[in-house]
Amino acid sequence: MLKPKMKRTLCAMAAVLSIAGTITPVLADRVDFDITVSVDEISPRAKKADSEQKYYVTGTYFSLTNYTFSSKSVNLNNSALKSQYTAAIKSSSPKATPGYGKYYAGAGVYHYLQAVGGVSGLRVRGRYTP
């Protein structure tokens, strides 16, 4: 039989996957994200404050050491419109400031951060400014 602790862990994991999600108190043009690759892949929405053609991603927690987490900044209302360049971060280099490239991200437009690469199950928490 499974040990109670293991059974508990499995059930808790299943539950967390089905209800995960939190309200992040928003102040400023950045949002906190908590993304798990292949499970919960998008951040809350954040409004782009100005017309600078860069976005900022900073990881503050990585469930796996030195596995790369790749993400893109995506237009909330049209997922086909997204940054050309990827933000690739890992525990040893947790900050990235890629450019939007061919996609023009206008001031005042809502975006979200979407995981586009990383080992399945990698969980990353951090901050995102579109």
Partner: protein, 373 residues
Amino acid sequence: MKKKYKNSIMILILLTVLIGCSQKENDKSPAQIKDTTTKNTATENTTAEDIVVFPDRYNTEMERVKFQCELEIPEGFTGLMQDYHVNEQVYCDSNKFYEMFAPESELKEHHTNPVSEGLPEDNTYIFADGTTIASGFQCLYNSINNVYYNQLGVMDSIEISSNEKLSFAEPETCIEDVNEILRQLGYPADDFFFSWHSLNAQAMEQAEEQLISSGDFPEEKRKKGWTSEDDIYVIYAYQKCGTLPVFHEIMSLGRSLAYDTPSGAPVQAVYSVRGLESLLVNNIYAFEKAEKDLHLKNFDEIAKVVEEKFNSILNEADYAVTRAKLYERVYYDEKQNYAVEPTWYFEIIENGNESRTSVTLVNAVTGKEIYLP
């Protein structure tokens, strides 16, 4: 023999997990409904079975799940539910929008993003005075001052906002102004639930200072001198479908986007004494009544879905259901066509910690949970 033994062990393990993850019906104590004052009224031509009557409040406790919320149902809701179709998403008249909001200032930049067939062009215009206009699948206007409001995230800044009226205008006047703009842009005006809050310059200046001193904000982003001219109303609106608010398609994209917040609203505007500082309109639909009526489940049945979901989680956390709101949810069905369904929206707080709030959606007709990606 050895293999058979192994298989039995595996089956036993699976059963143990499944039993552990679910709760026995008999273990549950009965719901204690403390207030079932009703608010729905029948119309003349309806039969008793067509109408569902919802309580004003729902206060129950079932094991670790406690309901303590008002049922957010609009005033005009009768309990009789008609089915709707989405004819199309309504886009604004881009030329009209440009005409209305382009300043006299020189046009400095024009950017066009390629979009899929069937969608309007996505154009952004930046003028010498700092005004930005974007039109296409969304209509967006930003004054030069709006960058400071955007930086502070004024739409959702509940901590520093209030319902105090500002001296330069009544909030209702600003709301009427937004409604008139929507009308002129070809949107179905008057079909919105409007809300507002206000922020004064002092509170915003303090918030900015706090962000800079905590290192979250670079010094060069600081606004030079906040005055009462910077006081603002934040106006936002959710569309109506029949008598219910619309849970638009973007809110179903993922759990992190499902929250009922001002920044999720399809209409958002900011007003100061200088006038309109920003406007954003998107995800508005043209609805059409279908011929059939829908029969909603009573609230006890819906609440049970939420109770069972959270009571079956094998942890020791307590869950408080603090919001229950009836929506018309617009989404893409399996054939990638728009569909509409009456849906209950719940906010559930874990262990009294508001930063651990999740959303659960339940189809109001079938009583089935709707899973978001």
